[in-house]
Symmetry: C2
């Protein structure tokens, strides 16, 4: 049976305007390939997955390299169960330490170990180099500011409209 259908992705049922469709297709294509490339570079050069890296970067930006599971999950957009599971595996590799939170014994803190600090320090340069080459290498300078403004608007909207709690909703901000 020969079958001819409009592509949901390519033509779309005109639910997005043509310009929206252009922007969305490019976004989703970048996202798919860039995640692959970032993961590959990190695995090859630093023995880290992109997921490991996301966790390490978030912790490295937190006070004393420590966050509660809930706050860290909210920051990197993961479900708590996924993060708990992943953190246990990173803990076995010596990158993070998981323990009951000092402020709330029902909660768990994840913190960077010395080894975790070293891993993120060593991995960052190669990762940023890839980002600069793949992401910014094809971007005219005049488009960087409009791109940043557009993406920041989108991010703020996702925080407002999305289902995940916003980042920085940890105990340090609540008390």
């Amino acid at each position: 049976m020969s079958r001819k259908r409009a592509s949901v992705a390519a033509a779309g049922p005109n639910w997005l305007t043509d310009e929206q469709q252009r922007a969305w297709l490019a976004y989703i294509r970048i996202q798919l390939r860039l995640s692959y490339e970032m993961n590959r570079q990190l695995q090859t050069d630093s023995n880290l997955s992109l997921a490991d890296y996301d966790v390490l970067v978030a912790l490295s930006g937190a006070q004393e390299g420590r966050m509660q599971v809930t706050a860290l999950a909210a920051q990197i957009g993961w479900e708590r169960s996924r993060l708990s599971h992943h953190a246990r595996r990173m803990s076995k590799r010596g990158l993070v330490h998981c323990e009951l939170a000092a402020t709330d014994r029902r909660a768990t803190d994840i913190s960077l170990t010395e080894e975790g600090w070293r891993a993120i320090d060593e991995a960052a340069a190669g990762h940023v180099d890839l980002v600069r080459r793949l992401f910014f290498g094809g971007l005219p300078k005049t488009l960087i500011a409009p791109l940043a403004t557009a993406l920041e608007g989108i991010y703020d909207n996702i925080l407002k409209e999305g289902s995940l709690p916003p980042p920085d909703a940890g105990p340090s901000n609540e008390s």
Copy 2:
């Protein structure tokens, strides 16, 4: 031991310019949260994961809803082994059909089943609605075109500089 370090993500070791850093941080934050939200919406409303959806959309845009594993993997930016594994699971759910390729018996074709066509048709509206609400809801109209142009430039550069083969490199283009 109290420890104070600059955040790799937030301050950065000045490997990106300030404007690049703004754009990149917003991009990566969107990517993390939006993937979560898209996956959640698809699971809740259509019993599909975002990974299922990516496969179904790519196939729905191909001739007769069929692609070789290698070409499909290149299009959605997955490793072949991941796609083969995932397609087998989708096949068990009746969404796709896997068989030896007609043109090359060493290759595998993945094609949409009737059930797969129905699944993508039914899921698309809710997915696009989410995209319009979360991604475009916070984007001023005047920024859509510059955003599209910027993202298309980045994507072209990733195709040129990245390690994955470009999409549409399947046998139909080679012969």
